[in-house]
């Protein structure tokens, strides 16, 4: 009956162990989820860098079309979608993280708009920057051919140069030089030949376009580059890291719990084992001791019998008693042999249990090793239980006790008769 209680206890402990395994698995899933989210966020930062790079390159003609820029903006959109999908795969995502993601999406939408505006204005600027010098050169040629056009031609030439410089300048350079020269030129356009008036109109139109568009281009360029996409990404990451830290702490607690749990489990198994060991050890010792006594008694009886045999024949009843005792002692000896074999088996089992206990007492528990040991202990226990080794030991001991009692009684009768 006691074995059933032990089995139930063992099963309960095992179920508890499985539940803690479940928590460990959940912790592992948290880590994987966070790692994937981090990869998406890292990619967003990289793609945002590519977008910025393309913006600068298209501004300064290092990229001569917008395909890369458009592809990078699309890639950013796809990556955000992938991030959001990944985040929503976890239902317990916090409100703070959700708000951060929303802010990131808004920032991206703004950047997309700013990028589109940059492209539009940059194209207009490029168009005029490309065309103004062409028509300007034509005008220089025409005006320099007439005497009164020399001054005009000089202004035009300087303006042409400055328009080019200005259009490719950095943010710090101001348009005042171009504006002043342009205004001076406009006061002198009377000196142009009539045939050049249409060309001059186109030229001034494009110079004005350069003056108008460049501030927009630089404004959108600067806005796009300075948009806080990285800040928003780090905002999401910061919250995710917070969540993960909490999960890790919980996981660590689960770890401590698991270690404590398995220590208790191992201890309980050890205690149960020791209980058997003590009980069986004491019985075995008692049996051995008693057997030695019986053997000693038997030898004495046998010696007495041999002595009396020399003097006279033993009575039939004495002979019967001695034979019975011989049989009983033989049985007890066999039983003791069987018992000793069982005790060896149980000792082996308790050695495994001790090993398991030692493993869990170690500072850094090797989970794989512990699991392997638990498995072996359980298999061994099940094997012993299946073969009813524990019951058999009890039965053997019980039989031996009875046999010894019989031998004792027989020998007492024999001695009594001898004395008489």
């Amino acid at each position: 009956m006691k074995n059933i209680y032990i089995l139930v206890l063992f099963i309960l402990l095992l179920v508890g162990g499985l539940i803690s395994q479940y928590y460990l698995r959940k912790e592992s899933n948290d880590l994987a989820w966070h790692a994937i989210a981090s990869v998406h966020l890292e990619r967003l930062l990289v793609i945002d860098g590519h977008i910025n790079e393309s913006i600068v390159k298209t501004r300064y003609n290092l990229e001569n079309n917008y395909d890369n820029l458009a592809a990078n903006v699309r890639a950013f959109s796809d990556e955000i979608k992938a991030l959001v999908k990944h985040m929503h795969a976890r239902p317990e995502i916090s409100l703070a993280v959700q708000e951060d993601i929303d802010r990131l999406r808004d920032a991206y939408e703004n950047k997309k708009d700013v990028t589109e505006n940059f492209k539009s204005h940059n194209s207009v600027l490029k168009n005029s920057v490309l065309y103004a010098p062409t028509v300007g050169s034509e005008l220089i040629k025409i005006s320099s051919q007439v005497p009164e056009g020399e001054q005009f031609s000089q202004y035009l030439s300087e303006l042409n140069t400055n328009v080019l410089k200005y259009s490719h300048s950095t943010f710090e350079e101001h348009p005042e030089v171009v504006t002043t020269q342009f205004n001076e030129l406009n006061t002198q356009d009377q000196s142009l030949p009539v045939i050049a008036s249409i060309a001059y109109s186109e030229f001034s139109n494009h110079v004005q376009t350069v003056l108008d568009e460049k501030p927009f281009v630089e404004q959108y360029l600067a806005t796009a580059l300075l948009m806080p996409i990285a800040d928003q990404v780090f905002g999401v990451k910061s919250h995710l890291d917070g969540m993960m830290l909490k999960a890790a702490e919980t996981g660590q607690q689960v770890n401590y719990f698991t270690i404590a749990y398995f220590s208790v489990f191992a201890l309980s198994v050890l205690l149960l084992g020791l209980r058997f060991s003590r009980a069986n050890g004491s019985i075995a010792t008692a049996v051995e001791s008693r057997t030695r006594d019986i053997e000693a008694e038997y030898l004495k009886l046998k010696e007495a019998s041999e002595n009396s045999d020399a003097d006279s024949q033993l009575s039939a009843s004495d002979m019967h008693a001695i034979h019975a005792m011989d049989t009983m002692v033989g049985n007890v000896s066999r039983n003791i042999g069987s018992l000793q074999f069982r005790v060896i088996e149980m000792d082996r089992f308790f050695a495994w249990v001790k090993k398991l206990s030692d493993t869990f007492n170690h500072e850094n528990v090797d989970k794989a090793k512990a699991n392997e040991l638990i498995k072996k202990v359980v298999i061994y226990y099940r094997d012993l239980a299946r073969r009813k080794v524990f019951d058999e030991v009890h039965e053997v001991l019980k039989d031996s006790e009875q046999g010894l009692q019989d031998v004792k009684e027989q020998s007492a009768g024999l001695i009594k008769r001898e004395v008489n």
């Binding site: 990229e63 539009s120 010098p133 376009t209």
Partner: protein, 316 residues
């Protein structure tokens, strides 16, 4: 004085030389191979041509985007949908549309898949009440049920329908145009006039907007950059373009820059189909977008160059 003038002219000249010599080509060839899923392409093709996907069973995607001889359009100013309803904007070609950075004239759809939803449920196009109606129609057809089941674990869904159509549309590329062959190194693939037209196309500033692999289709631009478009459209109700999507003031008259890959084959032109011929369209661009006058021979050379952009029609 003369020295300064010469210095200025020299600077200008050097700038143009450097600009031309070191600038990368603004146009790139269409990739010869597309990365697609053949089973989805087959399903998408079937859906593309299926008139069942309209409220009266009369219209398919192919009705307005004809792949046989009309280069992915219907060659009409605006298309005719179910019950003879008229659309409001010109149907752009579906060919090479996968290369566009957004879809529709106002760029309201980011992807082909997003775009595919609207015609199906637009009352003046295919007229379905919802995508669920499309699911119901297809679910009544055992062949479709089986074909979807072979590709998608969740069978017929709105997402799967549009994804298959989009996958098919990704294959609709006009590769190997003479100009692409020229870009790939065959100097004789285009004529001398076409080469001159390309140089003019660049020097007049057309490539400021029409650039990239699709010669456009990768940015928005205001219609009427250097001249007010209201001067052209005074007599008509003006389409405000992207403004209708964003409500941003600066998006008024802004449209997606169309691809010029098949421009010579797909009249009429612009969002309203208002330019009947390629000459009309180029003239309008020169006047309103470039703000200049261009000799007719230059314009014609540019148009000749545009004809070199036409590649092979995809095999359907």
């Amino acid at each position: 004085m003369r020295v300064k003038t010469k210095y200025g002219a020299l600077t200008t000249f050097l700038f143009l030389i450097i600009h031309t010599a070191f600038a990368l080509e603004p146009i790139e060839p269409i990739p010869l191979v597309q990365d697609v899923d053949p089973s989805k392409v087959a399903l998408g093709k079937r859906l593309y041509f299926d008139q069942k996907l309209s409220s009266d069973g009369s219209i398919s995607c192919a009705s307005c985007h004809d792949l046989d001889s009309k280069y992915g359009t219907d060659l009409l100013p605006v298309s005719t949908g179910v019950a003879n309803a008229k659309g409001t904007r010109n149907s752009p070609t579906v060919l090479n549309s996968a290369l566009n950075f957004r879809q529709f004239w106002d760029g309201r759809a980011d992807t082909l898949q997003e775009q595919a939803i609207e015609p199906l449920t637009n009352p003046v196009e295919m007229g379905l009440e919802s995508m669920q109606q499309a699911v119901a129609i297809l679910s009544a057809d055992n062949d479709y049920v089986s074909q979807f089941a072979q590709i998608y674990a969740d069978g017929i869904t709105p997402t799967n329908i549009t994804e298959a159509i989009a996958e098919f549309e990704k294959t609709l590329m006009t590769v190997n145009s003479p100009f692409d062959q020229y870009l790939r190194g065959d100097a004789n693939a285009i004529s001398a006039v076409q080469k001159r037209g390309y140089q003019l196309f660049k020097s007049y500033g057309c490539t400021a907007c029409h650039q990239g692999v699709n010669v456009g289709g990768n940015m928005f631009q205001k219609f009427g950059v250097l001249k007010d478009i209201n001067l052209r459209d005074a007599q008509q109700q003006v389409d405000l373009g992207r403004y209708q999507v964003t409500k941003n003031e600066w998006d008024k008259h802004v449209f997606k820059v169309p691809s010029l890959r098949l421009a010579v084959k797909t009249p009429p032109y612009f969002h309203d189909g208002s330019a009947a011929t390629i000459e009309d369209a180029v003239n309008t661009m020169i006047e309103f977008q470039l703000g200049r006058e261009v000799p007719v021979e230059d314009r014609d050379a540019i148009i000749d160059f545009l004809s070199s952009l036409v590649g092979d029609l995809p095999e359907i």
